[in-house]
Symmetry: C2
Subunit: 333 residues, 2 copies
């Protein structure tokens, strides 16, 4: 594990609940990692867990202060720094996915060294990954691929993990982005890996496992998104998935950040992703569809899910509205 658990969640002076979505994700998906939260004056987010001082958190066993809030204006404020200093003096590590790196704050670097603590910027790779060797590994792997970026791939994979674990099946969500890494305490920040080592980093992340164990790999980008498609293909080949889940957001008018680029159809994604995945794993199958219907009302959402299910001939769900049980069951088959 990259991060020591359990965590004290740092919510700081979050301007609204959305600013604390990383903390919310940790609390939703790994409540057992959270001994409490640390909030500052004016904080507009609340995880509903015990409010602890640094000293109380350490007494409760907290090993890492996790920055669960986005900062404003591209600087880490003095108000935050002083809390981070307290945490280091009390012997806690600090983990952050902020653009501004902890390692670029000399006061924190000095204190961490003095107290034998770690500053973990999860955006930065912490491992020298190998070049991919393409060798077949034991165990099963499922990858979420999207018609676009930010369509719910992480949510889908982690919701599938939850469903499978509730049913007593062996499953592990494998994070490939900073939010997922902070939630689970481990993973590969794939978008920051050097080109030649991308696929190898995913092989490293998803090694041999029990024959009946599923790695549920967080997707990134899209094979159809010109800015990030290479990252996605490295996931498809490094992950060597046995199963693909297609992810889609039905109200997106163009590819994220790229006016003029329309989204592929789910059929196009199915065909292209499967053909490329089968280069490494000839037995790969597309087993289900996950639709992010957050922009639709209940009636429209249900109608769309039924329509897509009928068109694609695959279990089709919104994991936020319905949970991911049907996708988990599709893997089991």
């Amino acid at each position: 594990m990259l991060l020591k658990t359990p965590y004290l969640l740092f919510i700081g002076d979050a301007v609204d609940p959305l600013a604390a979505k990383v903390a919310q994700g940790i609390k939703d998906w790994r409540p057992e990692f959270c001994v409490g939260q640390f909030r500052q004056e004016g904080c507009k987010a609340d995880m509903g867990i015990p409010e602890l001082s640094i000293e109380e958190a350490v007494a409760a066993g907290a090993k890492t202060l996790v920055v669960g809030v986005a900062n404003r204006g591209g600087v880490i404020s003095e108000g935050w720094i002083s809390v981070f200093e307290q945490a280091l003096r009390a012997g806690m590590d600090i983990a952050s996915g902020l653009h501004n790196l902890l390692r670029d704050e000399p006061r924190l670097v000095k204190l961490a060294k003095e107290h034998g603590c770690e500053l973990i910027d999860v955006r930065i790779p912490q491992v020298d990954y190998p070049i991919a060797n393409g060798i077949t590994r034991r165990g099963k792997r499922c990858l979420a691929v999207g018609t676009d970026c930010s369509v719910g791939k992480m949510y889908t994979a982690i919701a599938m993990e939850k469903s499978m674990r509730e049913k007593g099946r062996k499953a592990t969500f494998k994070a490939t982005g900073q939010t997922g890494i902070l939630i689970t305490g481990d993973g590969v920040p794939l978008d920051a890996v050097i080109a030649d080592f991308m696929a190898g980093s995913i092989e490293y992340l998803t090694p041999d496992n029990d024959d009946d164990h599923w790695d549920l790999i967080e997707g990134q980008g899209s094979l159809f998104h010109p800015s990030y498609s290479g990252v996605t293909l490295a996931l498809v080949h490094g992950g060597a998935p046995d199963a693909l889940i297609l992810c889609h957001e039905p109200t997106r008018e163009h590819m994220r950040g790229l006016p003029g680029y329309s989204l592929p159809s789910l059929k196009q994604l199915q065909r292209t992703a499967l053909e490329l995945a089968q280069v490494v794993n000839p037995d790969c199958k597309v087993v289900g569809v996950s639709i992010n219907t957050s922009q639709l009302d209940d009636e429209a959402a249900i109608a769309l899910l039924e329509q897509v299910e009928s068109e694609m001939g695959l279990p089709t769900i919104d994991p936020f509205r319905q949970g991911a049980d049907r996708l988990a069951d599709a893997l089991a088959e």
Copy 2:
């Protein structure tokens, strides 16, 4: 330009001609960049150009000492370092594509600073590349894509440049690997770029140009090579090619470095590469095939080229045996 021209080619104590293949490439494709060569005792390679001391090279206008030879044993030898020191004292930059970086040699770093010279490790990106924006650029682009790594993609693109320039057409070979960068003095070391910026680095490399100008982009890896396919897809989407050339080595028994992975057929490569390229450039076409027949005798080579041409319905050549005129003509059509 990343490198200042003209060059003095450093051949050192090359154990055989193959060890000096970078120098040979520069001499073959950019003879006008080469004022001379620097060879040491026991050198088994010879570019057939003037043998110059550092002083003579500077007098002849040389701006950069280019390391055109591969080293042995993973260290830069004392014999080489002392020549590099002379070059820096004489005011020359040094450029190298070696795994061992010039910047990791403290004596060279100190001298370069004192004499205002640059140490240019072309394996390391020298630019903060942008994230790709997918916006259509003026001018034309051609990309060589392969059934595998190391099948002649660089050779094909640079031979096409030569043919087009001889016919008075506007063409520029665009390097994406260290050998190509040393040959042309500029380019992107794509395999060392951070994942998120791969496609953007290729947009940066191939900006707007005259409507009748062709960038001939050096390919990397293969869409079907699990270790590097992500790098290749970033080239396909960042390069936004109008034309693709399919490259193949017919005697390869499995994907390079990956026993158990067979090569795709040229038809498979054509279909997959074109479908992915058309995401960014719907007008993209596959215009020709380049076969590396170096492992075949004349008769077998010609028979194979004719057979592939008939099967694919595309101009099919070996640019080493025949030059690249027919591919250059295919672009013009």
